[in-house]
């Protein structure tokens, strides 16, 4: 869940990060007032969740309060990647000597958080990493051992920063690492972190992404930052298909079936089990298949939930077949899911034998489940067939 810049900065302020004087405004007159109060020149910035504000013209530099008011009107309607501004931020314009980049994120391969640091801030870090890899450092740290400023120092020092700059930036980078862990973030980024002409440092822009599953744990913080419980902060609004999926899931408390994401393909997916969804989705794509949806089922959903989910996916235009696949399950009953999907096919007016390309859910009550599938002529397999191979079979059937 992404934070707006003004929210990220409000969080940084709690941790005594060096920030410019700033104010969010919601009218041109407020922009004028804020610019006069802060003191010109000021930066006028659109508050959107996506990047690319500067390129879209949604960041301007105002020399006078009147100019700030006029930029407010100019920036407000600008769409950045299809997103309009929530508000406008007016902030002191700092005399910059050099810009740096610092980010803390999660390295899935190393299964550890990583600090990325560059002395070429203010621009796309991917571009810097490609063209000037010697200017980007990667420093992993542990979530078990105590966090120390030495790690931050190491990250900065790796790109050749030393002396006073190293000493001044270390507490800022160290604080960002602490923020990342304390609030269960998936991203804590400062870009740029600026050295000003007087040698001091200032956070000019910040990005925070909170792990969506941690929302409950950080309810108090979110409330204090003014982030509503109903704000999903997704990259795009949910589609009708996704909303319908949520309704399927909300019908009763039993298990999960309905957490879907819409795609354009022809193979509907009823998949799940402890990371199995991601593995299976990737497997389908690796075999050249085109998923119609991503999906997560598990926790022993009721027959009616599995049935309604099946009907929803089969009703999606372009879906030719469905694949029902999970990892080996212990807390979901194979026979209950089998009943649900077979019933869903029949209630959709389709023959389960023709429309289910593969049923690969091994685990609890599988013998009972396989009896159901046999009766309806559905191709199924047990754990001796890997998830990858099962996905391959499903994709192959679409080509047949």
């Amino acid at each position: 869940m992404r934070f707006y810049e003004y929210e990220s900065k409000a969080l940084f302020e709690r941790h005594r990060m060096p920030l410019n004087t700033r104010r969010t405004v919601s009218s041109a007159s407020e922009a004028r007032e804020a610019a006069a109060e802060i003191g010109c020149p000021v930066v006028v910035k659109s508050q959107v969740l996506s990047g690319g504000r500067m390129k879209a013209g949604a960041v301007k530099f105002a020399k006078t309060p009147d100019e700030a008011a006029s930029y407010y009107d100019e920036i407000l309607p600008i769409e950045v990647n299809g997103e309009t501004a929530r508000s406008i931020l007016i902030e002191t314009m700092s005399p910059i000597a050099q810009e740096y980049f610092v980010s803390v994120t999660w390295d899935g391969r190393r299964k550890a958080p990583v600090v990325l640091f560059s002395d070429m801030g203010g621009i796309d870090i991917e571009e810097v990493a490609e063209k000037h890899p010697e200017h980007v450092s990667k420093t992993h740290f542990s979530t078990i051992f105590p966090l120390t400023p030495r790690i931050a120092k190491e990250a900065i020092g790796k790109v050749g920063v030393s002396g006073r700059d190293l000493n001044r930036m270390t507490p800022i980078v160290f604080e960002l690492m602490k923020i990342f862990l304390e609030y269960d973030l998936t991203l804590a980024e400062i870009n740029p972190l600026a050295r000003l002409e007087d040698g001091s440092f200032c956070v000019l822009d910040g990005h925070i992404d909170l792990e969506a599953e941690a929302r409950g744990k950080h309810k108090k913080l979110l409330a204090e930052l003014g982030i509503g419980e109903d704000e999903t902060r997704q990259a795009r609004p949910p589609t009708e298909f996704e909303i319908a999926g949520r309704k399927v899931n909300d019908v009763d408390h039993r298990g999960v079936a309905g957490n879907v994401v819409e795609f354009d393909g022809n193979l509907g997916l009823i998949i799940g089990a402890g990371g199995g969804s991601l593995t299976l989705f990737d497997a389908v794509r690796n075999h050249g298949g085109k998923p119609a949806n991503y999906c997560e089922i598990g926790g022993n959903p009721s027959v009616s939930k599995a049935c309604e989910l099946t009907k929803l996916i089969l009703s999606k235009p372009g879906v030719e077949k469905i694949a029902v696949m999970m990892n080996v399950v212990s807390n979901t009953r194979v026979d209950i899911v089998a009943r649900g999907v077979v019933k869903g096919c029949i209630e959709s007016g389709k023959d389960p034998a023709k429309v289910i390309s593969i049923f690969r859910i091994p685990g609890a009550w599988e013998d009972e489940g396989f009896k159901i599938l046999e009766k309806y002529g559905v191709e199924y397999c047990d754990r001796s067939v890997s998830m990858y191979d099962a996905a391959g079979r499903a994709v192959a059937k679409l080509g047949a």
Binding site: S302, V303, S304, R333, I336, R339, V342, K343, I346, E368, K371, I372, K375
Partner: protein, 72 residues
């Protein structure tokens, strides 16, 4: 009318017993039985949710409730 996968049959005499009806209603985790003063009614819409737990069979006199798997 049975479900697509499961049918539950209750002996006619037992079905009229309000006390057993209450026991069946309490026992079933997926609400297949509805009790009233007149006895027990099988809720057809919930039949396919049967988890084959056999709690209904244990709650009623021996042989008076049968759970039938229609896919066998």
């Amino acid at each position: 009318m049975p479900g697509l996968f499961i049918d539950v049959q209750v002996d006619a005499a037992v079905a009229k017993d309000a006390a057993i009806a209450k026991k069946l209603e309490d026992a079933c985790p997926v609400d297949i039985f509805e009790a009233s003063d007149a006895g027990v009614t099988v809720v057809e819409a919930n039949l396919d949710e049967c988890t084959l737990c056999d709690l209904c069979i244990q709650a009623a006199p021996e042989g008076s409730v049968k759970v039938v798997k229609l896919y066998e």
